[in-house]
Structures are given as C-alpha cells and as structure tokens.
C-alpha cells in the first residue's frame, strides 16, 4: 500500500510542479506577499505630513517645533499664517496634523504657567490619528522634562514604560510571523483544494478510480504533497523572516514545527473537504477564497481577536489559524516553551481530525 501511495505522491508532485500555472500559484503569491507585507504592511508611521501654525515669536515655541521637524515620524509640509488656512490643509489631506501654537505661548511658559498648544488631527483614519497623538504626547513630555530641569523645577511623578518582547514596538515583528500562518494556509489550500477538481476536469480522476487505489490511499497521496510543500515553504519564510527582516526567533524550533505540523494538518483537511465537494477548479478556487478570507480576518492576524464583538470571538474558536498565530508569535517573540502554548495545540488537532473524517466521508461518497 505504501509503495502505491508513494507513487501517487510522486505523480502529484510532478503534476503540480511541471504545470506552469500551478507552479506560479504555489511560488509567486507567497513571495510577493512576504515582500509586500514585510514592507508595506506596517502600523508604524513615517514622515507624516504636518503643518505648524505658529503665532508665537518666542524661543520656546521654536524649540518645540524643532522637536517635531527633527523627528523621523514627521514631515513639515506647510506653515499657515492664519486660521482660515488651516481647514483647507486638513480637508484636502495635505497635512494629517496641524500644530497650533498661540501668541502667548513663550510668555506663559516663562511665567511658569502652562502654555497651550492645540493639535488638530485628521481622524479619517482613526488608527493613524491615535498613533499620531501618542507620538505628540511623547514629544511634549520630553519637552516638558527638559524645560523643567532647565528651570530647576521638580518634574511630576513619571510613568515608567517598558515593552517586553518588542522593546521598540515594531509592528513588523508582529506582522511578519503572522505571514507565516497566512502563507502556509494559502499554499495548503491551493495545493489540495484544486487537486481533485483538476483531475476531474482533465478526466483523469475516473482513470484513477478504476485502479486498485482505495479512497484512503488517494486521500493520503493528495495530502502528503501539500504537507511537504507547506513545510518547505514555511521553512523558507522562517529563514527570510529571521535573516532578512531580522525578526528575533527566541523559542525552540521543535515547538514551532509541532505547531506548524498541526496547523498544516487542519488546513489540509479543509482543503480536502473543499476538494471533495468542488467539481470544477473554479468552484475549488471560490471555496478556498471563501474559507481563506474569514479565517485570516478572524485569526488576529492584523487586528486582535479581543477587539471583536463577543459572539464573533466565539466564532473564531473554530478557526485553526487563530491558534497557530499565538504559537508562532509566542515562539518567535516570547520564546515561549511548549508548556505555555499547550492549550493552543489540541484545538488544531481536534479541528484537523474532525475535518479529515468529514473529508474522508465526503470523498468516499463522491467516489462511489
């Protein structure tokens, strides 16, 4: 039996890798997405266009403005000189933020009274706005500390902030390991979901069914290539993530690969389920897409599961990717050992087993 399965597996590999179209599907999207995600997908802000409406002639205001223009996150695009000029700048999105310093600023400060600074932020993208406001208050706090120490006054009690695992809070460290999950899912689905449909379309499936292959052997022969390709591609992404994108890999590889194996198992089981139902490649593709989109969105890949409505959070419990993301991020950034992540492993195994059983059942029914 194993020799037959091996022969089928070799055939699957050859058929997959010799076909230009499927070779492209398996290799190109992962690479492109890794690059795009690695570079384009970031919540960190960089050269945000801002304007300064400074009515104060004093030195203090110039010092404050210099702190903004000197920061890499900001990029000065305009210096309006009247109230009327402010609104068009923000409306037209030429400036995402306007810093408005009143005429009395330096004088108030010198007099030991708080100097008022108004910050107008474009809230159309509220996430950018919130991050922007965070940057602004950090700069203001620095300014305050320096000003107070120069004037000899006692600074107020400070909140000391430390970030574990990702001290500079780089969102790339968060997103790149997530891509490992995304791309593994994509490849596993594409390899399996279309494979039976492709054979049906080419008429080779009947030919396969009249051979002595048993359904379980066909199932195995279709799953193993997906498993091997998934493992290979995941390894490539792990290497790229650590060597190219410099994301720290602090945990042990055994935990990572154990998680990867279980995740692939559950993803392949879904792919086979789609495969056993889809008659054409078109349907297989649509099925893969309709499974892929929600499972990425509801996995905590880009936005945390905790932010979703409670009923939606319950829905995510059947999504294998949510568990895998916890595992890879835990292994990569936290160096979490197997024990800490144990609760993430068994749900994937259960999902995979249930789906495999259903896929096997559907497969048998479609076969006969």
């Amino acid at each position: 039996m194993w020799r037959r399965v091996y022969a089928l597996m070799i055939k699957e590999f050859l058929a997959l890798l010799k076909d230009r179209r499927s070779r492209v599907v398996v290799i190109v999207p992962p690479l492109v997405q890794l690059l795009v995600f690695g570079y384009a997908a970031t919540f960190d802000l960089n050269r945000v266009p801002f304007a300064v409406y400074n009515e104060d002639p004093g030195l203090a205001s110039r010092d404050l403005v210099a702190r903004f223009t000197g920061a890499a996150a900001f990029h000065l695009v305009a210096a309006p000189s009247s109230d009327a000029e402010v609104a068009p700048l923000v409306d037209s999105q030429r400036a995402l933020m306007v810093l408005h310093i009143g005429p009395q600023f330096s004088r108030e400060l010198a007099a030991g009274r708080p100097g008022a600074v108004q910050v107008i932020v474009d809230g159309r993208n509220s996430n950018t706005a919130a991050i922007l406001l965070g940057y602004v208050s950090t700069i203001a706090a620095d300014f305050n500390a320096d000003w107070l120490s120069r004037s000899g006054a006692a600074p107020p009690a400070q909140l000391e902030v430390r970030a574990w695992f990702n001290p500079n809070l780089e969102s790339r460290w968060f997103l790149v390991p997530g891509i490992l999950g995304l791309l593994t899912l994509l490849v596993a689905l594409l390899v399996t979901a279309l494979s039976v449909a492709r054979e049906r379309e080419q008429g080779t499936f009947d030919q396969l069914l009249v051979t002595p292959y048993r359904p379980v052997e066909v199932l195995l022969g279709k799953t193993l290539p997906g498993l091997l390709i998934g493992l290979g591609e995941a390894t490539a992404i792990v290497l790229l993530a650590t060597l190219w994108f410099q994301v720290p890999l602090r945990g042990d590889l055994v935990t990572l690969y154990a998680g990867l194996f279980l995740f692939l198992f559950s993803a392949l089981s879904v792919g086979l389920m789609i495969s056993s139902v889809a008659v054409t490649q078109q349907q297989g593709l649509l099925g893969a897409f309709l499974f892929m989109v929600p499972s990425v969105m509801l996995s905590g890949f880009a936005t945390p599961i905790a932010n979703m409505p409670v009923w939606m959070q319950h829905v995510t419990l059947i999504n294998p990717m949510r568990y895998f993301l916890v595992i890879i991020r835990g292994v990569f950034l936290q160096g979490a050992p197997f024990g800490v992540l144990a609760s993430q492993f068994w749900p994937m195994a259960v999902i995979g087993l249930v789906n495999m059983t259903v896929a096997g059942f559907l497969f048998r029914r479609r076969l006969y």
Partner: protein, 595 residues
C-alpha cells in the same frame, strides 16, 4: 481566372498557410492549401481531428488571418474586410454558440437582432425555419434542455435567420443521432435547391462524405485529394471484395488476409471481411479461395473509406519506402496473456436503470458479455452508453438493477478486483504534463507493479506501441494517434482480464483506427473480454455482438449480421448498420404511438 469562372467560385483559398504557437511549440495547421468552392454545390471537407478543418473554416469567415496566401469569400478578402464577409456568410461553429439559458425563441430573437433582420420579416422567417427544423413545438424551451440533434438544428436555424449566400458548417453532425443526422442533411439539400445556397461542411464521418457533391480530403494540413465522390472511388473499382470463411473465426481470417501479399487493407464487416487489393494485384478472389478452404470472395462496390485508406497508405509507403505499414506492423499484443477461464458471463447487466433527477439516462438495460467476446455499445451521444459504461466500472451507482463484472459489483469490490480490469476513457485522460515514461511508471505502480516486473512491462509498452522515441516527451504534446497508443499502453500495463474502452477511436484517422482494432482483436483472441462503446457505425461491425442504445434504452442486442438482417425489407434488401439503426428507432417511435 476568367470572369465567368470567378462567378462560379464563391469561396477561394490560394496557398493558405497557418501556424499556431502555444507555449513555445509551433503547430502548423494548414500547409499551403488551395481550393475553390463552387456556387450552389455542397462541398465536404473530410479529415480526422487535427487535419485543419476547423482552422480552414475559421480562416474563411475572417476569424483568423492566414500567415500566407489569400482567401476570397463572395468577392471579399477575408483578412482585409472581415465584416463584409461576416455580414453575407452564415457560419455554424462546431460547438454552436447557443445560449443554453435562453429559450429557443430568445436565441432566434438574439441572432435576428444581431443579423439585422427587420421586425416585419421575422414572423414569416421564423415560421419557415421552425417548420423546416421541426422545432415549432419547442419555442418556449430552454436551449440547454434540447437533445443534441435539436440543438444542432436550432443552431442551424439561428445561422439562417438572414439567408446567407454561403453557408459554412463545422462538423454539424458530431454527437447527433442518425435520424437527426438524416434530417440535417435533408435541410442542407433543401437550402441548396430552394435558395441556391452554397454549402461547405466539414465532417470526420466518411460515410457522410458520400452525400456531398464535391469532396476535399484534408490530412495533416494538406489536401490529399479533391473531386466528386465517384472520382475517388473510381480507381478502386475492381479492387474491393467481400470475403467469407465460415470455418475460421472472422478475426483470425482478417489477420490472415492482411498477410496476403496482394492485400492492401482487410477489415471485418459483420461476419465477413472486406478486402482492398493493391494496385496491380490480380485475381484476389482466386488467391483467397485457394488459400483458405471453404472461403468465398465476391467483388463489391468501393467505398470512400477504401479510397481514403488507399490514399493514406500509399503516402505512407511512399514516405517510408517499402517499410512495413502501421496497419500491418501492429503485432499481436505481446506475450499473450491468457486469463483463467471464467464460468458464465463475465459481464452481467440486469434491469439496470440510472436516473438523474427525473431524467432516465439508462432505463432497464439488460445484457451479458461472455469471456473473450468483443461487445459493442452503439448509439449517439446521450443514448446512455457512457452512463452504462461508468456504472460497470463502478464509477456511478445504478438507481436500480444489478451489475456484475467477473461476478463482483465493482462499487463494493476490494481493490484487488479492480486490478483485473483495464480502462481507457473517451477523451485522452492521462496526466498531460507528465512525460510518457512518468505516465507509464505511475499507472504500473498503481497496479502494484514494482521493480523488475515494472521495468519489464514499461520496456514492453515502449516497444510494443512504438513509443520508445517519445519517452521523455510531455504526453499532451503527443499527436492524437500517439496519445491513444499511450492511453492503451497504460490500460494494459497490468495485463487485465477485462478491458473497458469508451469511444477509444473518436477523432482518430482510419489508419490509426485499424491499428487499434488489430490490437483489440489480438487481445480478444487471447481470451480478454472487451466492452467498447462507439458511435462509428462501421466499428460496430468489428464486434462479436452489440447492443444498440437510444434515449437510455437498449433497442436490440445481437451480432452485427443478424441485426442488419432483422431490418431487411423490400425497400432495403441490404441495409447498412445505419439503416438498421434508423429502422429500429422508427419502429420504436411507431410502437410508442400505437401504445
């Protein structure tokens, strides 16, 4: 060309070449074709799949532009002025573009709009077309729900909403039952007679070509010959015979006859063997009578197929010197594999029905196949052949009835039982992007052949089927004939006892078909049971017994000679297989009316 002659030629091709490139490969579809289609005549474009028929049709209506040469249709250059051609020519593509989710009437309306038929003219035109095609009762039906023959007639009606001067039909009779086929031909002749229309149609059926005024024989992009059907047959007059040797089995007789020096071609025809003599060979009947005791041979009228085969074989000989001909070179299928004797029928079908929704694809079919028999399922597309076939292979469960293959139901049988059957399906269904060797290796492994035995069988297949020089070629790049050989090799890797063949020869040229059948005959002689489906009437003659199917029902079962004999009448003393088929269908229709 004189103006007078120019008026006579409606479509003219001069030195037309056309190449296609796909994926780095260049395929020459037409190599310097010149021909003229005369006004008011029915010209048949004859050739196997891949001969270039469709390319020629598409070039003629300006859908393709020739690489070289010039095409003039109704006085317009098709490359330079395609719109002018398209507004005066009627063209029905192979898969006619009916919108299956539109009704018959809606399809007609659409094509009338597109062809600019004035609203006032429509009612009269529709009435005429519907009467001619017999579709008047079905105007409200969705086109997708029509039978193959009715679809084809609707397609023709849509092409004719604005009567064209020149009508091009690309394989109009593929997948159409013999009755509808006859009706289609009647329509074509009526158009020529009443509207002085010029018709160019292509077909792979040689028996149809006999009905044309002129014939153009196309083979691998070249014209092998053109003329009236009689002109093709004439050189063969006196060289065609029908031989009979009741003492010897018909297959052994055919094999022996092929080896007689003066014989060019020998094919089984029911219980007889049809013989075509080589040019210059004398006294063939005498030779046969002397060589085979008790045999008789009489002269018969030559057929177009005889002429076609003679032309092709002549070319092959000219090319390959005096080397062996493919038809003859086909050896017996290797070391004869003798299946263990099986008591009782190898294939048993009892009251089997298959429903899809409320539609019966097969209704109460019953037949048996004995060991070593070549059993044919004959019928047009949609007759239920493929459904029956798939049920036998265990690919589809029956809705009612029982099926047994070697005493087992393949649906529930252990995988070892499936190892005893070989299967070759309708369209080429091997892994197209795998090489010849990879395909052979995979299918032999699938049947548990490993190691030395596997290598031995692969070597056998490569030698036996002449595939050795194509070992590393991607199988989708093979020619149709080689693909068919590879498919058969894959089906025979494990030396099956029972062989299922689903329309194995559709689209293959007559030479490859002969080669194929000589292998089948050899296998059957060795005791292998063979079930074959076909829609070629003449292939039915090669079978020991056959079941004729139409609309999901088995009309009759018997050996070819007795089926034909059963339809003998005063009007038809020597019915052909097609005549017999039509007779059976008409009788059933009368029976239905009476009931």
């Amino acid at each position: 060309m004189s103006p007078d002659a120019a008026a006579q030629v409606v479509l003219e091709l001069r030195g037309v070449r056309k190449q296609f490139t796909s994926g780095g490969r260049t395929l020459t579809a037409l190599r310097g074709v010149s021909l003229g289609v005369g006004r008011g005549r029915v010209t048949g474009l004859i050739g196997p799949d891949g001969a270039g028929k469709t390319t020629l049709m598409r070039l003629s209506v300006g859908l393709l532009v020739p690489d070289e040469g010039q095409i003039t249709a109704l006085g317009h250059d098709t490359a330079r002025d395609p719109l002018a051609v398209q507004s005066s020519v009627g063209y029905m593509p192979q898969r006619f573009g009916l919108y299956e989710d539109l009704t018959v009437q809606e399809n007609l309306d659409l094509y009338s709009d597109l062809q600019g038929v004035a609203a006032a003219d429509r009612a009269g035109r529709y009435g005429e077309l519907m009467h001619m095609t017999g579709l008047a009762r079905f105007t409200g039906r969705l086109a997708g729900r029509l039978s193959g023959g009715m679809k084809q007639k609707l397609g023709l009606a849509c092409t004719l909403v604005r009567p064209p001067q020149l009508l091009l039909l690309d394989e109009p009779t593929v997948g159409v039952d013999p009755v509808s086929r006859r009706e289609l031909w009647q329509i074509v002749y009526r158009l020529v007679r009443e509207h002085a229309m010029t018709v160019l149609l292509s077909t792979a059926y040689l028996d149809e070509a006999e009905r044309c005024d002129d014939i153009v024989l196309l083979h691998e992009g070249e014209i092998l010959g053109k003329g009236r059907p009689g002109e093709f047959r004439e050189p063969l007059r006196g060289r065609t015979f029908s031989a009979r040797a009741p003492a010897i089995g018909k297959r052994a007789f055919q094999k022996a006859l092929s080896a007689v020096p003066g014989v060019l071609d020998a094919v089984i025809q029911a219980d007889r063997v049809r013989v075509v003599a080589r040019e210059g060979a004398t006294d063939i009947p005498g030779q046969i009578a002397r060589a085979f005791a008790g045999s008789t041979a009489e002269a018969v009228e030559p057929r177009l197929e005889d002429a076609f085969v003679a032309l092709l074989l002549g070319r092959g000989e000219a090319r390959a010197g005096a080397g062996p001909l493919p038809a003859r070179a086909a050896p017996a299928a290797g070391t004869p594999h003798r299946p263990a004797a099986f008591p009782g029928p190898v294939i048993e079908v009892r009251d089997v029905s298959r429903k899809f929704g409320d539609f019966y694809a097969v209704r109460r079919a019953t037949f048996d196949v004995a060991q070593g028999e070549v059993f044919g399922l004959l019928g047009p597309n949609g007759a239920g052949k493929s459904t029956t076939f798939r049920m036998l292979c265990g690919l589809l469960p029956p809705s009612a009835g029982t099926l047994r293959v070697a005493g087992l139901d393949l649906r529930h049988a252990a995988s070892a039982a499936r190892a005893r059957i070989g299967y070759m399906s309708q369209k080429f269904s091997l892994y197209g992007n795998l090489s010849v060797l990879e395909n052979l290796r995979f299918f032999s492994s699938a049947y548990d052949l490993f190691g030395r035995r596997q290598d031995g069988r692969i070597a056998w297949a490569l030698g036996e089927f002449g595939l050795a020089e194509y070992v590393s070629m991607t199988s989708q790049d093979l020619s149709l004939g080689h693909k068919q050989r590879l498919a058969m090799a894959c089906a025979l890797m494990h030396e099956p006892d029972i062989l299922f063949l689903d329309e194995p020869t559709s689209g293959v040229d007559p030479i490859a078909r002969r080669e194929f059948w000589s292998r089948i005959n050899a296998l059957a002689e060795g005791g292998v049971t063979i079930l074959v489906t076909t829609h070629f009437m003449e292939e039915a003659e090669y079978c020991d017994r056959l079941a004729i199917m139409a609309d999901g029902e088995v009309l009759t079962i018997g050996d070819p000679a007795s089926i034909k004999r059963g339809q003998r009448s005063e009007a038809m003393p020597e019915p052909s297989m097609e005549d017999a088929f039509i007779g059976l269908i008409e009788r059933r229709a009368r029976g239905a009316e009476a009931a």
